[in-house]
Amino acid sequence: MIEELKRVLEKCGVEYAEIRVEEREGTAIYYSGKELEIAERKRSFGGCIRTFHKGGWGFVTFNKLKDLEDWLHRSERQAKTMKRESGLAPVKPVRDKVRLSLPDDPRKVPLEEKHELVRKYNQIVMGHEKIQTTRVGYEDTFIRRYYVNTEGTEIVEERVYSGVRMVATAVDGTNVQISFDSVGGTQGWNSVLGLEDVAERVCKEAVEMLKAEPVDAGVYTVVVDPQLAGVFAHEAFGHLSEADHIYENERIREIMKLGTRFGVDELSIVDDGTIKGERGYYPYDDEGVPSRRTYLIKNGILVGRLHSRETAYKMGEEPTGNARAINFAYPPIVRMSCTFIEPGDKTFEELTDIERGIYAIGAYGGQTELEMFTFSARRGYLIEKGKITKLLKNVVLTGNVFETLRNIDAIGNDLKLYGGLGGCGKGGQFPLPVSDGAPHIRIRNVVIGGK
């Protein structure tokens, strides 16, 4: 395959060209309530050619691997239509073959065994009379990717994602409450075994939430659990560190000036694509650049950001290996990998030792518009005189990310990373496998929406 692609690139008539071809195959098994809902096998195949000429990009994608030269020339014409100034930061060409060699490759596990696992977890999630329905499933995706460019980089890489997702819906009259969790990564079949405790928790939490009271709207001190804090690190701050947001806009560039203080000394936020087994792990990005560990905030100071080769060129910085595409049908854009807040030294008891506040747990979802964010916690508790008391629902946090980062006043010592089966969306590309995480953190003056 690589040789065939290289031959096509020999016909390249512009400054730079790359070809990416991907083969995928996967399994999905989902239960919904008592019944098996989905049992399916998916295969997909396709490629793309991206060309660069005098600052302009061309991009074509296809799933029939014939007439590649014709596609190359179409892409070149697009690149020539664009008249703009840009460039690509230099990187060392890479020649590598990363073959998958997991002792417990999910592809070797029989379909029936996967089915049995899902059935077992589903039984546990359904384990209460108030659970009206569930959605419990397993998915795996194997990817083989071929990448060549006109600078001599040639990579064949294999990867396999696997994970489970569990959702419980509890109903009492018109009161409907949902609880969920998802576990998974790139470390193989073992990672989805032994999750009975997770299934039990998902069931129990949905039922408990039926009795939760809506939170009173207002301004609170909030202790945020590792999962929600991870979503905050990714959504609210991580996206601001993506250099494509920054490079054209002078004002944002001013705010995101390296060296600016963003929080207390204990606050450090990292993006690290090199953590094997994580869902956000990858050896090379979709421009053939090796992944790496990049500090975004170190000891409270903004020290770095995430780059593609183009944004690195434009800002005169080094590429960080963060140009990623969800699949062959999309060009790479600047994305995160595994983004997390580094642990501090506080225990959970020290964090919750406050007069009055809210303990916010898990994330329904989050949305940001640069400085502004809103996050819905899955559940919350009132904290009164250092004690965790009443169970709360509809806990939605909103605010300005820069104020909120400054208002983080204590960081726990209990870092956890989350991958699962979810992903990140940006520029119409969803879901991209990422991980995020944090220890427990405490934030002062957070606006909580509610009744």
Partner: protein, 435 residues
């Protein structure tokens, strides 16, 4: 391809269907005032669903030469598949729709580049501090569906869409304004887009922090879309109803919402992006009311959920080629009211006009909960827009809010070619501020 697969299924003596989808699309993107990328995509694939020994199996591929293997795989996974509680529909007479505009395919990439540049220049003449992004898409989708019970159908639909946004630091805080359109015909809504972005930017000049309290909240059509669509529509999903997870289970014919609410699903609306003669399972499409004067009339159903609920399929089975069908909606229309929006604003003593929100659809939408940050909203005092409201949240429950629904505007506007909504006016509802 579809024919060959059906022949193969018949030969093997299993009931089944083949769903083929193909798309060719050009995408021209401008970012931060400049041409950012030009892309061309051509993707196709086929999904095979079978019923073998009373159980469902499914497999898909986009490598056409693998179609035989995919038939085998679908039959293979059927052994552990769920029981098939539906029948594939047979042959039927399909509505004739005009979905194809050859002018869409005549658009040249250079022309799209010119339009984008024109939009950016016209906005920048008036507004210097916003960075403008524009997305232009044009191309065609082809759907071909057949099953062993005699249904055959195919259509090719052209699509053209335009989306523009302005983003920047205005009066000390980030502002994001946007406008979009979509159609099966060529539709350059350049004037509307330019006007919207300039107007909103000019209104944002003054920002105001408001106190927590009761306000009349006016949601623009776009804000209705972002804030309430999921709370309105998720509980009507046949699959959710079938599982008993919707609070609207067993409530057909009951009065649920204010009698001001008539909500329609119209798959035959001319030029709309979701318009189609048949759904992705071969059921003929027809318009239907979800709510008529607040009374629940229909859920949206695929074959399976219709069968489980003992109802007729509504023609709302939707899918990509690589997934099993599930219930989905087409173009949603909320009927308007009596008065125009200008008059409504003039008569508002103390209110907030909400044009953009953050966080829509993230709360417990099934229960009707919503909670949004007012990302782009304006304070109204004594009938006049005073300035942009900052750091405020609006939340509540769709069902509990019905008594507060005072009126809907006469104007019913297209939101991205997917929905048609009026302005919705809720009186005296709580908004959380930070002042």
């Amino acid at each position: 391809m579809v024919e060959r697969i059906i022949d193969e299924l018949k030969k093997k003596g299993v009931k089944g269907e083949a769903f083929y989808a193909s798309s060719r699309m050009n995408v021209v993107k401008f970012q931060d005032d400049k041409l950012h990328s030009i892309e061309e995509k051509e993707i196709s694939g086929v999904g095979v669903r079978v019923i073998k020994d009373g159980k469902v199996g499914f497999a898909s591929t986009n490598k056409e030469e693998e179609w035989k293997e995919v038939v085998e795989e679908a039959i293979g996974v059927a052994s552990l598949g769920k029981p098939a509680k539906f029948e594939f529909p047979g042959k039927s007479k399909l509505p004739e729709l005009s979905l194809y505009d050859e002018n869409v395919l005549k658009i040249e990439v250079e022309e799209a580049v010119e339009k984008g540049n024109e939009i950016i220049e016209r906005i920048k003449e008036r507004v210097k501090d916003l960075k403008i992004s524009v997305d232009i898409k044009f191309g065609e989708h082809e759907i071909s569906l057949g099953n062993t019970e005699g249904f055959r159908g195919n259509y090719t639909k052209t699509v053209h869409s335009l989306f523009g946004s302005g983003f920047g630091l205005v009066a000390g805080s980030f502002l994001s304004v946007y406008k979009g359109s979509g159609s099966t015909r060529v539709k350059w809504m350049v004037d509307e887009l330019v006007k919207e972005i300039i107007e909103k930017r000019e209104l944002a000049e003054n920002t105001i922090e408001i106190e927590t309290g009761e306000y009349d909240v006016i949601l623009s059509p776009e804000a209705v879309f972002l804030t309430l669509t999921r709370a309105l529509l998720s509980p009507l999903n046949g699959k959710t109803v079938m599982k008993g997870a919707s609070p609207l289970c067993g409530k057909l014919g009951e009065k649920i919402l204010s009698d001001k609410i008539t909500l329609i699903d119209d798959p035959l609306l001319p030029d709309a992006l979701a318009t189609r003669p048949f759904d992705d399972e071969g059921v003929v499409c027809r318009p239907k009311a979800f709510y008529e004067k607040g009374v629940l009339k229909n859920y949206y159903l695929d074959l399976e959920s219709a069968h489980a609920l003992g109802l007729e399929p509504t023609g709302n089975g939707m899918r990509n080629y690589d997934e099993l069908p599930s219930p989905g909606y087409t173009t949603i229309i909320l009927e308007g009211g009596e008065r125009g929006i200008d008059e409504i604003i003039r008569d508002t003593e103390k209110g907030i006009l909400v044009c953009g929100v953050l966080g829509g659809g993230q709360s417990n939408v099934l229960a009707g909960d919503f909670s949004v940050n007012l990302a782009l909203a304006f304070l109204i005092e004594k009938g006049e827009l005073r300035g942009r409201v900052k750091n405020a949240m609006f939340g509540g429950n769709l069902y509990q809010l019905q008594p507060n629904l005072r009126e809907l505007s006469r104007e019913v506007q297209d939101v991205y070619g997917h929905m048609r909504f009026p302005y919705m006016v809720f009186e005296r509802v709580k908004v959380a501020g930070k002042a």
